[in-house]
């Protein structure tokens, strides 16, 4: 029960599994400047996004909370906020939100510096210095209870629900049992499982929250799928899911929920917010792979666990995404993108429990610094802030 990993201790008590400098634009207008700063200083990661202006209400609030929470994630030793200067969600508000994490933090504003080139120069100098300071920090041994993992999946097929997801469920259960935190999300892909999940809630309040979260998502889906003008846009699951043998969203959901193992749900977390304690939580998010990971990293996940039956190469800036496939053919085809071949279970070479244990050990290794394939190949597509219609 004394499982440990080696991570970077942060001033706010959190532990990072990576030690990057994050370059975060407060608005889409400063995305290229942020990208150029990150190119000047290898080791930095940047967060291109299309939001931060012309938004109101809850939509803008979710954007604001998410960007702030990404900046606070312990995988980042320092943050350079890059603003344009006239945007509604100001770079100073973003920086003030990140400040309580008590990490290296600076703000560069294009209109204040003069132009984009001046902003790139200033930001690069700041990032260079932060990078050097961060490079002196060494990993220290900490208990696995400091880990938060995001459970996500994409490109599902029959093998996801049969093998990769339940194997991940074993690993998640083991982490939760050892005091860690695990986040199940993708509410659109939990339709039809809500009664089963609600029965696993720690109390009646959480049970009700789970049912209500699924109900709200389904209500939204109904609004979007009942317009006669968009009658060809009503499929809740992808063509690849269909080709892989999944016939309905509920069939996909019953497989999807297996990622969360058998542990009890301690609560429901809103998008852009963090769980109040350790344990297994349901994070309210749509099913889009990137929006899920983004919500999970904002919730504090230092790592994403990602079963994929059809095979997807995507990754997240500064956060390892461990790819697992239960489909042996997919593994053969996409070995350069997929970290764990759970197809061995389908072939009868390993049991689900053995595979789950293997995934748990991989979590510890990756937390201690082993790079995953998506990181090595530079995949960073999964950063997408969710929007409200």
């Amino acid at each position: 029960m004394n499982d440990t990993f080696k991570g970077f201790l942060r001033n706010d008590g959190k532990v990072g599994v990576r030690n990057h400098i994050a370059i975060i634009p407060s608005v889409f207008c400063s995305a290229k400047v942020a990208e150029r700063i990150a190119y000047q200083v290898p080791g930095c990661v940047y967060f291109r996004h299309p939001v931060g202006c012309s938004q109101v209400g809850e939509d803008l609030e979710i954007t604001a909370k998410t960007l702030i929470s990404i900046g606070k994630n312990p995988n980042f030793a320092g943050v350079v906020v890059v603003g344009l200067g006239c945007e509604r969600f100001s770079p100073y508000e973003l920086a003030e939100g990140i400040a309580p994490a008590n990490k290296m933090l600076e703000t560069v504003v294009i209109q204040k510096e003069g132009d984009s080139l001046a902003a790139i120069q200033k930001g690069s100098r700041i990032a260079r210095e932060m990078q050097q300071i961060a490079s002196r920090q060494v990993r220290e041994e900490v208990p696995v209870s400091e880990l938060t993992i995001g459970l996500n999946c994409g490109g599902s097929d029959m093998t996801s629900g049969l093998i990769a997801n339940p194997a991940l469920g074993h690993a998640s259960d083991r982490l939760v049992k050892n005091g860690g935190t695990s986040l199940l999300s993708e509410i659109t892909e939990l339709l039809g499982t809500e009664e089963i999940l609600a029965r696993r809630a720690v109390n009646a309040e959480v049970s009700n929250d789970i049912l209500e979260t699924v109900r709200r998502t389904e209500e939204k889906l109904f609004r979007q799928t009942q317009q006669s003008s968009n009658i060809e846009r009503t499929h809740l699951i992808s063509k690849g899911n269909y080709d892989g043998g999944l016939s309905s969203v509920v069939e996909k959901s019953l497989g999807s929920m297996k990622k969360s193992g058998k542990a009890s749900f301690s609560g429901v977390v809103s998008y852009g917010e963090q769980p109040k304690s350790k344990g297994l939580y349901l994070l309210d998010s749509p099913g889009h792979d990137g929006e899920v990971s983004t919500g999970q990293v904002a919730a504090g996940a230092q790592m994403i666990l990602f079963p994929t039956g059809r095979g997807t190469p995507t990754g997240f800036p500064g956060v390892p995404v461990i790819k697992i496939t239960g489909n042996p053919n997919t593994y053969q085809r996409m070995q350069e993108n997929i970290d764990i071949n759970a197809g061995e279970v389908l072939l009868g070479n390993q049991t689900l429990e053995e595979m789950g244990e293997g995934i748990y050990q991989e979590i510890i290794e990756v937390a201690s610094g082993k790079q995953v394939k998506a990181e090595i190949l530079g995949h960073d597509e999964q950063f997408c802030v969710t929007r409200l219609p």
């Binding site: 889906l221 499929h235 309905s248 019953l254 489909n327």
Partner: protein, 101 residues
């Protein structure tokens, strides 16, 4: 999950005893005889359609609007009836959750 391992040489898998579908563990051809695991007395089903890897086939005859059970849970209902050994997919299964097809 020893069950999956034992299925290694077999062609279809019934996930839960309550299920009325099995899944193909490899690409299967119309006319092939498949052993239904867990069946007692032992039962072989002749396939009425080609069943691609990962797809479902009926292990019992099902009527229109009957619940399709996988993982022991309802994943949808039948648009039309299907005979034992027939392919079950979006052409004959519907699910109205979320307003989807």
């Amino acid at each position: 999950m020893e069950k999956i391992a034992a299925q290694r040489k077999k062609s279809i898998l019934v996930i839960d005893p309550a299920d009325n579908v099995a899944i193909a563990l490899k690409d299967l051809k119309k006319g092939e005889q498949c052993f239904v695991d867990g069946s007692d007395p032992p039962e072989w089903i002749p396939l009425l359609d080609d069943i691609p890897f990962g797809h479902k086939l009926a292990i019992r005859t099902m009527e229109k609007n009957e619940s399709v059970l996988k993982y022991g849970e309802e994943i949808g209902r039948m648009k039309t009836s299907v005979n034992k050994g027939g392919w079950i997919h979006t052409h004959n299964l519907y699910c109205e959750r979320g307003g989807g097809k």
